[in-house]
């Protein structure tokens, strides 16, 4: 158990599992879904997974530490409408308004995340229930702030980001990838990151060994919230609209990406690389099945079945790697 090489090997096996699944899905669609491998289509898929990938990156932190965040969809709506409102401030020059809007969105996300983490840590309440409460607080606030109306008409300079490409890839996807890479470094190369895994494995042990777990928990959920704030701005720049009912159910897609990516729902085990693959699997399925001409209802069935299958396979891999 303590041999670092064996541990790394097991981690590779774990991530290879979902990688193999992704390759199979891609190969299947390459054969049966006309136009799947087209350059535009691949770029479309990356655009389509971007928001979920950013949310799932944040969600990975919450799940690794042994929690969950059900509020991300609703907090995302709140971030989008607050950021959007600030961005329309008439007294600011466009560039300053854009910066202020983005800052507001990130701040709202971080505050919501910090509250989630602090409340669940201070009173020892499962984050499941705290974030369920936050879901309603955030959705209600988003409706209150906007009086249930959509916000549109943002500075052109901001909207240009949404469709920009760099090296042939969607700029927003590259941003998501950069965020994920940064998160990966934090999780694997810093003391803070190791603490997240340790708390996810056995919080009591970490506490008894003299570490303060409260701060780590608050920080982990704040990172989740930061990602939500970023995802909200990506949403607005891509669709030029911020509406208080956006993002319903987005938390479930993010959780699915994290779990398909091999991260354990009970915390302490998993990686952001898996989350990347998990998010892409979900995006590829949504895309490929439409290209094949599958009906909406069947598509829903297949997507659900694949999620279950991926987690079943993952349980086998976990047992294998524990035995080996």
């Amino acid at each position: 158990m303590t041999d670092p090489l064996a541990r790394r090997l097991r981690a590779v096996v774990r991530e290879a599992g979902i990688g193999v699944a992704l390759l199979l899905v891609v190969a299947f669609f390459a054969l049966f879904a006309p136009g799947f491998l087209g350059e535009t289509n691949l770029s479309n898929i990356l655009t389509q997974v971007t928001i979920n990938l950013i949310l799932a990156t944040g969600m990975t932190f919450a799940i690794l530490i042994g929690g969950i965040d059900l509020s991300v969809g609703a907090v995302m709506a709140l971030c989008a409408v607050v950021g959007g409102t600030v961005m329309q401030a008439p007294f600011l020059p466009p560039w300053a308004a854009v910066c202020a809007g983005i800052a507001a969105s990130l701040a709202v996300g971080m505050v919501a995340g910090a509250l989630n983490g602090a409340i669940s840590a201070l009173w020892g309440i499962p984050s499941f229930i705290v974030t369920l409460g936050m879901l309603n607080v955030a959705r209600g606030s988003a409706l209150e702030v906007t009086d249930a109306r959509s916000i549109y008409d943002f500075p052109d300079a901001f909207l240009a980001f949404g469709s920009a490409h760099l090296f042939g890839l969607p700029l927003m996807f590259l941003l998501a990838l950069g965020l994920l890479a940064f998160g990966w470094v934090v999780l694997t190369r810093t003391v803070f990151g190791r603490m997240i895994y340790a708390i996810g494995n056995n919080e009591e042990a970490v506490r008894l060994s003299g570490h303060r777990t409260l701060r780590v928990r608050v920080a982990a959920f704040t990172i989740t919230g930061l990602c939500v704030g970023i995802a909200a701005m990506v949403y607005v720049t891509r669709l030029s609209i911020a509406n208080p009912i956006l993002g319903v159910g987005f938390e479930l897609n993010a959780i699915a990406a994290v779990i398909i990516g091999g991260t354990s729902l009970s915390g302490g085990r998993g990686s952001l690389f898996g989350t990347l693959l998990g998010a892409i699997v979900i995006g590829v399925l949504g895309n490929g099945l439409v290209l094949m001409g599958m009906s909406d209802f069947s598509r829903q069935i297949v997507t659900g079945a694949v999620i279950i299958l991926a987690v079943v396979l993952d349980s086998y891999r976990a047992r294998l790697s524990a035995a080996g």
Binding site: Q48, S240, I241, G286, N287
Partner: protein
């Protein structure tokens, strides 16, 4: 046990007998004015928000009845809406205006309310005729013809593309009656205009999903020339997908609802047409008709409310 409720004396209407409400204390109805319940769908939706504000304004203008307006959590919160009806009955309403979340599930509680002597007017989405027959009630429906509206919008697209134009439909929630009616209207326009339907998929009324679903449809059918979206929120996502694919100007869009956010796109010609069903006046029209019933008229059938085709010319 019966209690007399008077309509505003200035209107000079008659009075009617009603059973005593379950909880309201005798004489609780302010100055003998009738209480009218308004049950809507989710107030988180701009359309119902407008509708509620229109109703409040109408009640303020008339001043001869008390309005008790309630919304529900989400468009599909059927339980919540049934509970809302029962609560209003318990609060002693004499008239009820309802936009049902489900055209069948809401019939039994509404039929119970009618047996208790409450006058009911159905707005927005019509109750299922068979369900009404089964519960031996006849409720007048005050609302727009979604099918005819969608057909008007679809015909603008048919006219722009000409015979043989290739189109796709982006549908509303499967199971939503107005979504189903709008799809039928689009199909009417496709049939009448000799268009070819390449694909039809739901995006659950949602901008982001419409954006994703439509860019995938476009990959599967690169020859799409026109899109019919069942609401404006989805049209916004469709337009963004068209822009991202570089097909701006080549693919034409028509839609439904006339929300403020669609207006810049109508102006630019990115969306050819949408349909306004005057949501803010819909609840007011329902209230107007329920007051007529309380005054002794017996209304049945479909009282159509106006629809207006909105194009770039209207927003210039």
């Amino acid at each position: 046990m019966d209690r007399r409720l008077f309509l505003g004396s200035c209107v000079g209407m008659g009075s009617l007998l009603l059973p005593r409400p379950l909880r309201a204390a005798p004489g609780a109805a302010g100055a003998g004015r009738p209480k009218i319940g308004l049950v809507m769908k989710s107030l988180a939706n701009e359309f119902f928000k407008d509708m509620q504000e229109g109703a409040v304004a109408y009640a303020g203008k008339r001043g001869d009845f008390d309005l008790l307006a309630v919304g529900i959590q989400s468009e599909t919160d059927i339980d919540g809406q049934i509970a809302a009806v029962e609560t209003l009955v318990a609060r002693g309403i004499s008239g009820l205006v309802i936009a049902p979340a489900d055209s069948r599930a809401l019939v039994p509680p509404v039929a119970r309310a009618m047996r208790a002597g409450i006058k009911v007017i159905n707005i927005d989405v019509a109750f299922d005729p068979q369900a009404l027959a089964r519960h031996h009630v006849d409720i007048a429906f005050v609302g727009p013809d979604n099918r005819a509206g969608a057909r008007m919008s679809g015909e603008v697209l048919a006219h722009a593309l000409g015979q043989g134009g290739k189109v796709a439909i982006v549908e509303g929630n499967p199971g939503a009656e107005n979504g189903a009616q709008r799809k039928l209207g689009f199909m009417d326009a496709i049939g009448a205009g000799g268009l070819t339907l390449l694909d039809s998929r739901t995006a659950h009324w949602e901008t982001e999903e419409a954006n994703t679903v439509f860019s995938n449809m476009l990959t599967a059918h690169p020859d799409i020339q026109g899109v019919m979206a069942a609401n404006d929120s989805m049209a916004l996502g469709v337009v963004k997908a068209i822009e991202a694919s570089g097909a701006r100007g080549r693919i034409k869009v028509v839609s439904f609802d006339n929300i403020p956010a669609i207006r810049p796109l109508l102006k630019d010609g990115e969306v050819l047409a949408t349909v306004d069903q005057f949501g803010s006046q819909l609840a007011a029209a329902g209230l107007d008709n329920v007051l007529k019933e309380l005054a002794g008229q017996n209304l049945t059938g479909w009282i159509r409310t106006p629809l207006k085709l909105v194009t770039g010319r209207d927003v210039a």
